[in-house]
Symmetry: D2
Subunit: 149 residues, 4 copies
DNA sequence: TTTT
DNA sequence: TTTT
């Protein structure tokens, strides 16, 4: 029945987020995130980098567009989702993405001139722009559009 | 600076949740949760149980009141919060609690007659009772009342 | 730079683990794991299931072979790894797996006749069979063979 | 039966670790870690800081002694443990700590001149100093001494 | 005070 | 392909 599907990453953006606007005023941001691990192989220090496809929806995507850039160190929390698509040759292929629920900027002091702690909220119907600081405790609608991508 | 404060527990409730109603129609649920670990000590199998004080606020507390009972196996996600209080002798004491963000019932088949996957949502202003299944994807206001407790 | 790459899943095995024995006495176990989520769509209750490819190495694979079976509810902790391979047509393809670090059996009472809390340990050179209960606090070598698969 | 007790923190050390050497050549490191959260209260930006007592054992403590200092940004993974003690007045008191399993230094570029990704390993009997880089993939014995503290 |  |  109900299960848990949670991903926690800390890594650097490989590129600026790519922003797309879908019908119904839905924003989607996507970018590659690198998580590197150092380990010893035969006595030498080796770095292994894993690349993750991060996807952010709606309000979270809009915050991402403002604050996330190539090279930034970021904490990302989300869930795994494998989707299927057909390549140009009509072959069914799979790709696994991390659909983010929230993120937090970490890292260099300069990053913190605009600290961000954003959340993709599946419940709220509308962002409350009223009380300033839209980048903090940001919430936004989620839902069936998840499968539009 | 922004940081991360996350707790993930899977364990059994030691008691039924204790429900309190604060001013402003704010509901608080609290209960002890046991997480047990088996390990080998001198070749013998030993069980070590850790007890956690779980606190749930508002809508999440109301869902807890309906679905969480002594003995249930539950996944709880939340954050650590240490608060200070004065004991009867006027001595300052500290207690550390896990303030839950969401929970998911796991476990026995009988538990799944009422499956629950609930979330405490700091953004939504009102629970949407309209479209049934209030226990699923439940959302509720959060905020400064966190410190009322 | 060092990063974090962590996956936490609670779900049911879709099949018994498939066990392979590689050169050098290395065991690999792999199986699909389903994590289901209930949500409301247009007022109706909908279940969405995500399938994850779980991979376990060495000693952890051996524990998996003994205790994990189709239908079991299990907590799995691990890391994401996307690897590349060529399909029969010589086309480069990608697949994303969760390489498990440890797992814990959850769930039905009958599951607990053989409770398991296993760990894939990148440090230990050999499993300590001496002091009984090999299924608990199980540790095993890890390392470069990770890329043999 | 078996449960999950996991804490994930990203924050800054409030002090240099305090290092203690117990009987049996057991090292213990402890330090306060701050995780801050920004949120909006009445339209103003407010920062709330939570302090955590982090404890590291054996080899992990030794790595901590070398690489962790006041102000450093660090990812810490561990488990909650509440222990009881008697204060000077003979009153039973409780304190909750995060017993770390591993940590990773994050943050400023200068931090990465000595990147660290350390693990407290409950299985390995001895650290392998042979192949250099003792700070990476560090492993060490764990066990019953956990309760010596 | 849970669970096995 | 799981589970409820």
């Amino acid at each position: 029945m109900s299960g848990i599907n949670k991903v926690i990453l800390v890594g650097h953006l490989g590129k600026d987020p790519e922003i797309r606007h879908l019908e119904g005023n839905v924003t989607v941001a996507s970018f590659p995130l690198a998580t590197s691990e150092m380990y010893n192989k035969d006595g030498r220090r080796v770095e292994q980098t894993e690349w993750h496809n991060i996807v952010m929806w709606r309000g979270l995507a809009e915050v991402a567009a403002k604050y996330l850039f190539k090279g930034k160190l970021v904490y990302v929390e989300g869930k795994l989702r494998t989707r299927t698509y057909e390549d140009k040759g009509g072959v069914r292929r799979y790709t696994t993405e991390v659909v983010a629920d929230n993120f937090t900027l970490l890292g260099r002091k300069s990053d913190f001139e605009n600290p961000v702690n954003a959340t993709d909220d599946p419940a709220a119907k509308k962002v409350d722009d009223a009380n300033s600081e839209p980048e903090v405790d940001f919430k936004e609608n989620d839902g069936e559009e998840d499968s539009l991508f």
